[in-house]
Point group: C3
C-alpha cells in the first residue's frame, strides 16, 4: 500500500451477493443527516469557532482511545501531550507528539481508532500519505496548513459533516452560556443541545461532594443543606436544562442498580453525607435512591434517561493522580441489569412517555438482559454499542444479540460519544455500514425483504434516536 485510502466498500460483508445488497442499503443513508444524541464535544468549540491548534491536539492528546493504545505499547502519556495535574514537566512539543503517533501507526491495525483516524485524514483533510516516521513531519505541515483555512474551522466542519443535532454533556451547575449564546447567534444554523449529567452530585462518598452541593445551591438559588432542598435544587437545574433545550439526562455509575429508599432513610443518609460520616455502603444506597429520583423526575419533566453503567473508573491510581480522569484506564466490569433495574421498572417501567436508554460495555447482557427488558417494557430502549464496543465487530454482534428478542424498533440509534470532533462523521458512517451489512445478511438469508430493510435502516439513522432521546 503506497497511500492512505478508503475503499468505497469498506466494512461491508465480503460475500459478493450480500455486499451488493449492503451497498444498495448503505447508499440510501450514506448522506443522511447526523443525529448525535450523546457526546463530549464542548459547545464553546462551535460558539468560538476558532481554528484547531495543531494536528497533535486535534488527533492525539485529548483522545483517550488513542493515548491508551500508545501507552499500552510503552509510550509515556506526557510524550503524547497529556499534562501532569501538578503542571510539572515541559509541555510536549506538538510536532514531537505527532511524530510519536505516526511512528506507531501500525499499533492501531485492526482497531476502530485506526478506521476513524484514516477516515478523518482522508475524508476530512484529503491526506494521502500513510503516517510513519518518514511521513510524520510533512503530514504535520500539511494538516497544520489545512487547520489554518476557514473551511476547517469547527462551524464549517459541522456543516460539512451534515450534523443535524449534537448533544453535549454538561454539569448540572453549568450556566449553559455557550448553548444560549449559540442559540441567540443569528449566524449559527446548527442545533446543539445540553445533556444533564449529575454523576458527581449523586456520589456522596466522593471527595468534593459537599463543595459541589454548595455550587448547586448557588446555581439553583435553593438551599442544599437539607435533603429536600437538595432534591428541589436538582429538579430546578433539570428545569433550567429543559428550558435551554436539553432532552436527556446521562448517568454513568459502576453498577446499574436503581433502588428507592423511604424518604426518612434517604434523608438520614443525606445528613450523614453532609456531615462527612456516610459509609461506603450508605453512599451507594443513597446514589441508587437518587437515580430512582432521577427516573421519577424524568417521568415528570420528560427528559429521557440514559444509563451506561459498568466501568471501573481510574483503574490505575498513579496515572489518575498524575494525569487525572479519562486518561485511558477505565476498565469494564460484569454488569447486572435484570434485578438492578427492577425496583425502578416496577414503578416507572410502563409510565407513558418515559424513556430509559440502557448502554453497556458488558456484551453478555445484550441477549440475556437488555433485549428481553426492552422487549417488554415500553420505556426501555437498547442503547447502541458504546465505548469499547463501538467497533465494527461489536456493532455486528450487537445486532445479532439484540434483534432476535427485541427487533429493531426498541433500539436507540447510534451515539458517537466522542471527544474527537473530526471523528464524528467516521463513527456514524461505520455504524451505517455495519447496520447495512447486517440487514443485507438478513435479506440474503431471506429473513427480510430489501424494501423493509431499507425502511429499517432509515429509522435506525434518523427516527429511532430522535424518538428515544426526544430530539
Amino acid at each position: 500500500m503506497s497511500e492512505l485510502r478508503l475503499h468505497p466498500d469498506r466494512l461491508l460483508p465480503a460475500e459478493p451477493s450480500v455486499r451488493g445488497i449492503a451497498r444498495e442499503l448503505y447508499a440510501t443513508v450514506a448522506q443522511a443527516p447526523i443525529v448525535s444524541p450523546h457526546g463530549h464535544v464542548d459547545a464553546r468549540l462551535l460558539l468560538d469557532d476558532e481554528p484547531f491548534a495543531d494536528p497533535a491536539s486535534l488527533f492525539v492528546t485529548p483522545d483517550h482511545y488513542v493515548t491508551r493504545m500508545l501507552h499500552a505499547v510503552g509510550v509515556r502519556l506526557h510524550a503524547l501531550g497529556v499534562r501532569r495535574l501538578d503542571g510539572s514537566g515541559e509541555p510536549a512539543d506538538p510536532r514531537a507528539v505527532w511524530r510519536v503517533f505516526c511512528e506507531h501507526w501500525t499499533t492501531f491495525a485492526g482497531t476502530a481508532s485506526r478506521h476513524w483516524l484514516t477516515d478523518a485524514l482522508v475524508n476530512v483533510f484529503g491526506v494521502t500519505a500513510i503516517p510513519s516516521a518518514q511521513t510524520a513531519d510533512s503530514l504535520y505541515d500539511e494538516l497544520a496548513a489545512r487547520l489554518a483555512e476557514e473551511a476547517f474551522r469547527p462551524r464549517a466542519l459541522y456543516a460539512r459533516f451534515g450534523v443535524d443535532v449534537l448533544a453535549t454533556t454538561d454539569d448540572p451547575c453549568s450556566d449553559l452560556s455557550a448553548h444560549r449564546a449559540l442559540r441567540d447567534d443569528p449566524s449559527w444554523h446548527g442545533r446543539v443541545v445540553p445533556t444533564f449529567r449529575p454523576d458527581a452530585y449523586l456520589e456522596a462518598g466522593v471527595p468534593g461532594w459537599t463543595a459541589r452541593l454548595d455550587r448547586l445551591a448557588t446555581a439553583s438559588g435553593i438551599d442544599t443543606t437539607s435533603y429536600d432542598g437538595f432534591v428541589a435544587a436538582l429538579e430546578d437545574r433539570r428545569r433550567f436544562f429543559v428550558a435551554n433545550g436539553a432532552t436527556a439526562t446521562d448517568h454513568g455509575h459502576v453498577d446499574a442498580a436503581i433502588i428507592p429508599l423511604a424518604h426518612a432513610e434517604a434523608r438520614g443518609l443525606f445528613i450523614d453525607a453532609r456531615a462527612g460520616v456516610i459509609t461506603a455502603s450508605g453512599a451507594t444506597a443513597l446514589r441508587r435512591h437518587l437515580l430512582f429520583e432521577m427516573a421519577r423526575m424524568s417521568c415528570e419533566d420528560g427528559l429521557a434517561m440514559a444509563i451506561h453503567p459498568g466501568v471501573s473508573r481510574a483503574h490505575h491510581t498513579p496515572t489518575f493522580e498524575g494525569y487525572g480522569p479519562d486518561t485511558g484506564h477505565d476498565i469494564p466490569v460484569a454488569t447486572e441489569f435484570t434485578s438492578s433495574l427492577r425496583p425502578m421498572l416496577e414503578r416507572f417501567g410502563t409510565t407513558a412517555g418515559f424513556r430509559l436508554i440502557v448502554f453497556t460495555v458488558d456484551e453478555t447482557t445484550w441477549s440475556r438482559e437488555i433485549a428481553p427488558l426492552a422487549g417488554f417494557y415500553p420505556s426501555v430502549f437498547v442503547g447502541a454499542p458504546w465505548w469499547f464496543l463501538d467497533t465494527p465487530g461489536a456493532m455486528r454482534r450487537f445486532r445479532e444479540a439484540v434483534t432476535d428478542s427485541a427487533g429493531f424498533f426498541k433500539t436507540a440509534g447510534f451515539v458517537d460519544d466522542t471527544r474527537a470532533f473530526c471523528s464524528i462523521p467516521a463513527r456514524h458512517d461505520v455504524a451505517r455500514r455495519v447496520d447495512a451489512g447486517y440487514l443485507a445478511s438478513l435479506v440474503a438469508e431471506h429473513r427480510l425483504d430489501e424494501t423493509e430493510a431499507a425502511d429499517i435502516l432509515q429509522a435506525i439513522v434518523g427516527r429511532l434516536p430522535r424518538e428515544a432521546f426526544h430530539l
Copy 2:
C-alpha cells in the same frame, strides 16, 4: 414485496458453495418426523379436536412472545385479548386484536416470531397477504374460514405437521385424563406423553404451597404433612406419570443449584414450611435439596431430568397482579452451573441411565460450563437453545459454542417449548435449517465430510432427542 412468501433457501447461509451443501443436507431431514420432547400444548386440545376459535386466539393472545413485543411498543395487554385476573374490562373483540397485531407487523422484523408467524400463515394456512392495517380484516376472514374446515382441526394438523411424539407439561396432581383418553381412543394414531413438572411443589416459600401439598395428598393417597410422606407422595406421582407414558421431568427455578441436605435438616425445613415459618433462605435450601431428591428418583424410575434455570419470573409486579404469570415479563439472569450442579453430579453424574438435560438462557454458559460438563459426565446432555435463544442467530451461536468442546452427540436435539400449536413445524424447521447451515460450514471448511454431516443431522433430528429424553 407484494406478498407474503417463504423462500426455499431461507435461513441457509448466503455464500453460494455453503448454501449448496446446506440445501442438500437440509433436504435429507426436511420431511423427517417431528420429535417434540418439551412444549406447552394441552393434551385436551388433541383429545377434543375442536376447531380453533379465531385467528386472534390462535396467533396472538396466548403467545407471550408476540404479546410482549407489542406491549414493548406501547400496546396494552387487554387490547391483545389478555384478560385481567379479576375479570374486569370488556373482553377484547378478536377482530380488533387481530387488527392491532397486523398494524404492528413491522415491529417483528428480524425476530424469530416473525419467521414462525410467516411460516404458519403461508405453509399452514396458505395466506399470501402481508399483515397490515389494510389487509387485517380480509386476512381475518380468510383465516376464520380455514379454521372452520375439518383440515384445520388439531388432529388433522398434528398429522399434517408430521409429529411423531409430543410431550406436554403437567402438574404432578394431574389425573392425566386427557392423556389416558387419547391413548384409549382407537381413532387417535399419534403419541402424546406427559411430563412431570413439580416446580410449584418444590418452592415452599411461594403462597399456596400448603394447599398444593394437600392436593398432592389427595392425588397420591399419601399423607403429605410429614416430610417422608411428602417425598413418598412425589415418588408415587412420578410412578403414576411413568405408568401413563411420561419419560421426563422438567424443572425451572431461578438458579441451577442442586444441593442435598441431611435428612434431619430437610425434615426440619419442611416442618417450618408446613408451619408457615420458613425463611426465604430456608425455602431455597429446601428447594435445592428436593431437586437432589428428584435426581435420585430419576436414577430409580428412569425419568430424564430437564432443567432450565435462570429466569426471573414475573419481573413487573403490576402486570403479574393484573394479568397473571407468563405474560411476557420473565427476564433472564446470569446463571452458574459448574459449582451449582457439582454436589448432584458428584453423586449421580456417572450413574448408568441417568439423563440430565441442561437448558440455559445465559448463552455465556455454553462454552464455559455446559459443554465442558457434557464433555465429561455421561449423564449430562446440552439442551437446545431455548426461549430467548431459540432464534436463528442464537442457534448458530449455540452450535459454535458447544461443538468445539462437546461435539454433536451430547446435545439433545431441538425443543419447541411452544404454546402456539401452529408454530411447531416452523420452529423445528428453523432448527433443521440452521443446523444444516452450520454443518455445511464445517463441510465447506473441510472440517467434516458431507456424508458424516448428513449422519449427524439425521441424529440431531431424531436419535439424539429420543435418547436424551428416553422417547
Copy 3:
C-alpha cells in the same frame, strides 16, 4: 469419504475471495518455526529419545481431551488405559484401548481433537484409513510399525515439526536435570526451556503443603519454616530456573485475584498454615498475596508471569480419588479480572520489562476486561485462546473480541499447552490458519492492507510470543 485426508484449504473461510487472501497469508507462515511458550511435554522425552510405546499410549491414554469425550459417551476410564491410583484392575491392553478409540471416532466430529488427531495421523504418520471398528487393528499395526522406526523418535519428530523452542512446565523443586543434560548434549540441537510453576506451593490449604515446603527447603538449602525463609527459597528456586534457561512462570488458580497483605499479616497466615490451622479464607488470602510476591519477583528477575485462572479442578471427586487429577473433569467458572488484578497492576502495571500474560477459559472476559487491560497497561498481554477455547471457532471469536480494543500487538501468540507431543504441529497450524482467515476477512472488508496483514501474521507466529515470554 473413503479415506482420511487433509484438504489444503482446511479451516480457511469458505467465501472464495476471502479464502484466496487467507491462502496467500497462510502460505507465508505455514513453514515458520514453532515457538511453544507453554506446554506439558516432559523434557526427559527428548533427552531419552526412546521410541513411543504404542498407539494407545501415544494418542489416547494421556490426552484428557480425548479420554473425557469418550467418558462422556459412556466409556470407562480404565478401558482407555487410565490406571487407578491404587493400582487395582488389570492394565488395559493397548490394542483394546486403541480399538475403543477407533470405534468412537465419530464422537469427535466437529471437535478440535478430531482435527488434531487427523492431522497427526495423516501428516505425521501417513495413515489413510479412517479409524473405525473395522480399521482399528490394521491401523494399530501400521502405527506400531512406524513408532519402531528411527524417524518417529521424539528428537526426529522435534526436528521434523520445525520446533524452534519448547517450554516445559516444572515443579519449583525440580533439579531440571533433563533440561541441563539436554543443554549439555552435543548431539541435541533444539531448545527446551523450563517454566516455574509453583501452584501447589502457594496453596496452603491443600494437603501435602507442609511436605512440599520441606522439599523446597532441601532444594534451595533455605529454611522454609519461617515466612521470610519461604519467600527467600522461592526467590532462590526462581534464580535457579533463570540460570537454567527459564523465561517465565505459570500460575493456575481458581480465581485471578492478586492482592498484597502487610508483611505481618502474611507472616501470621504462614505461621497458621505451618501449624495446620489456617482457615480456607486465610489460605486464599495467603495465596493471593504470594502471587503478588511472584509479580514482585518477576519485576526483579525478569521472568514473564503467565496466569490462567478460572477452572474448578477435579469436579468429580470419585474420579479424582480413583484416577487422580487431569482426568478430564476440570470445568471452567466465570472469572473476574478487572478488580482482581487491580491491586497488583496499581503497583507493577507500568514497571518496565514486566510481562503479565492473561489467559482465560471464560471468553466473556476478552472484550470486557482483558483486552481493555492490555490496551492500557504496558505489562499486560492477552494470552491465546486456551484449553476449551483452543478451537477454530473460539480462536476466531478471540480475535474478534480482542482486536477491536487491543489490536494485534498486545496479544502473545499461540500456546499449544499440550501433553500430546504429536499434536504440536497440528495445533500451531490450526492457529495460523484461523489467524490467516481472520486477517483475510479484514483485508476483504478493506479494513487492512494485505501487506500489513502479512506483517501482522508474521509477528503473531514469531515475534509476539518471543517478546511476551522473553524467549
